[in-house]
Amino acid sequence: MTEEIIIAGFGGQGVLSMGKILAYSGVMQDQEVAWFPSYGPEMRGGTANVTVILSDERISSPILHEFDTAIILNQQSMTKFESRVKPGGTLLYDPNGILHHPTRKDINILKVEGSRLAVEMGNPLTFNMIVLGAFLKAKPVIKLENVKKGLEKSLPERHHKLIPLNLTAIEIGQENLVVVQIAEAGC
Amino acid sequence: MSVLTDRINEIIKPENLVYAKSPLLNDDLMHYCPGCSHGVVHRLIAEVIEEMGIQEQTIGVSPVGCAVFAYNYIDIDWQEAAHGRAPAVATGIKRVMPEKYVFSYQGDGDLAAIGTAETFHAVNRGENIVMIFINNAIYGMTGGQMAPTTLVGQITSTTPHGRDVDLNGYPLRITELLAQLPGAAYVTRQSVQTPGAVRKTKKAIRKAFEIQAKKIGTAFVEVVSTCSSGWKLSPVDSNKWMEENMFPQYPLGDLKDTGRADAELYRIKAK
């Protein structure tokens, strides 16, 4: 099993840390992992994206040009990455702020209203964990117990008290995944 | 011959000894020109190290310039730095061996032109090193070109019509600038043109090394110096020219003697 993922959105949405938690969870599941961020001025308030590879085998190229799953969190990223989802792959997005919804027929399209749910939870910082929950529902590549271990490993000890909140957010994400479209076969 | 030898042997009897070269200065013939100040300053450094008994703990850093071969003359461990980089090299040595004495020895081109950044930042960090600065207002090694400290109107091979402020800017009083930095513990300007001046300079160098032991910041000693070859003057005339022209621009005396600024004043108070 190899899962090649991009997470793309605005800086400040927790894109990089969501990728990090996913990668750490993969390590806890004895997988090979690679996490590669966009870096530079993009880090400071503009778009941010990170690719994560989870695999049972040694990872050759850590640089991805197409993805099994794209997690899209703003319009710029939708414009940039929709075309780069592999045929039969998955596009998961938060419709908040999206003007041009995905149009491809040959991919699975899923959505989760992460921004709204985070606000409803009373803590906008849970946004990325809600999205992560939705992803794990769509692609159960990591067991939840390993995500918990991944959280423990990637968060500094002083933030460990936030782990239950994060797990709740993941659950909410799982419960609120909406299937928009299943890929048309044969495309 | 034998009469002469007998007379010499009579004169050099140990009981007639009134002065001896520091054993830290070896017998190699110095490459410096007659009348050059470098030799005197070398001697003073050797004497201070010997008198303080710190030969085994002292590392010198020589520059690029006339003093590049300083390591040939004083019997301690040395590193030869790239042009202008002696303060960085000295910082590297001192940071990994804070228990040792480290001094840099630089001329005006090295310290105040190509190495200005390294000089400023070493002093600003308050590196616990001694910096010796030989200011003779000219590049000696490369053949008498303009230095940052060359006086207005002074003739050099690259200012053949005299230093022109419109073309070349102004003589740099870098020592005054360094004295303002909070990292500087002791900043002084001396000279070695008379026995009295030599004694004062030796005191200053000794004090600088003692400050290093106290670890209270950078100790900086400028020595206003002569370059008879570069100035194209006799050694005696050079001293006279220096007193008349250099001293007004570079007045002698201590510029700072308070130790490094009290770090508590600068430190962010812990919440």
Partner: protein, 358 residues
Amino acid sequence: MGELRLMKGNEVIAEAAIRCGCDGYFGYPITPQSEVMETLMTLRPWESTGMVVLQAESEIASIHMVYGAAGAGKRVMTSSSSPGISLMAEGISYIAGAELPCVIVNVQRGGPGLGTIQPSQADYNQATKGGGHGDYSLLVLAPASVQEMHDFVILGFELAFKFRNPVMILADGVIGQLMEKVELIDQRPRWTNEQILEISGEWATLGKPSGRKKNIITSLELDSYMMEKNNLRLQSKYSQMKAEEVRYEAIACEDADYILVAFGSAARICQKTVQIARKKGVKVGLIRPITLFPFPEKIIAEYATKVKGFLSVEFNAGQMVNDIRLAVNGKTRVEYFGRMGGIVPTPDEVETALEQRF
């Protein structure tokens, strides 16, 4: 099994330095490698191992601080990215000339000039052919994974002291920013003063005890005959490196008709190309030079009589390809494919290039 962590290449440089007993790091921030110093400053090793960490006023100052501290027999290092390494060129030449051991990390970005902060391998020639003035060589290690970033810090110090020569770890923005699993070595002690005396006492400026000659660290020698002798000594060192320290990885080369040659992150991409091509029935192998100096010319020369061609894949305009051509010496075709300006080619692009060239 050492501690397993998920870390960025840049972070692991810092962690490995502390753990292998490094005495000092002097650096200046530049993207994409600033995490090296940031990590060190966060970990505060001066409180644990006694390792010194200092942010200098420039790359020029950094490398000369390294010169000074290395001259004291300490294990010291710096890191930077391409424009910063250019600034260090003077100091690196002095360090090579004065025969001092140290580790220099270059997390390359695209040039020339200020260029881009995206990954590149355009400093290959600078790293392997000098970079500064004079006849000198660095021993150059090219990591292709975060694990190798870790391992090469440790290996780098070993080689630096074996040869009294600067070692460069030539990484790029991909390996610097990439996070992978890495197994860390257990903490090793820094060398004691007694150990340093034993290892480097003959030349290091530790303070001159009575009874030994003074030690002088210098690259200066005005007597041409002596200077030629110094140069010959350096050259014999480089010959010894060529004889003893060549490292490479050969993947799927035994039955290959074509061999890709790539280092660092380009080699990772080529691994995937090998898989893609073999699925199509094209027998492709990969030689990954691990030491760029000394260059693995023997293995390339051996395969030159067996394969139909080599394709050098580089994130530059074709630099390593010249070393491959020298090794192949006309025995088979040698072609180049690469991208510049911070663009990382896809494995498919490489495969297409291979098809087009041959």
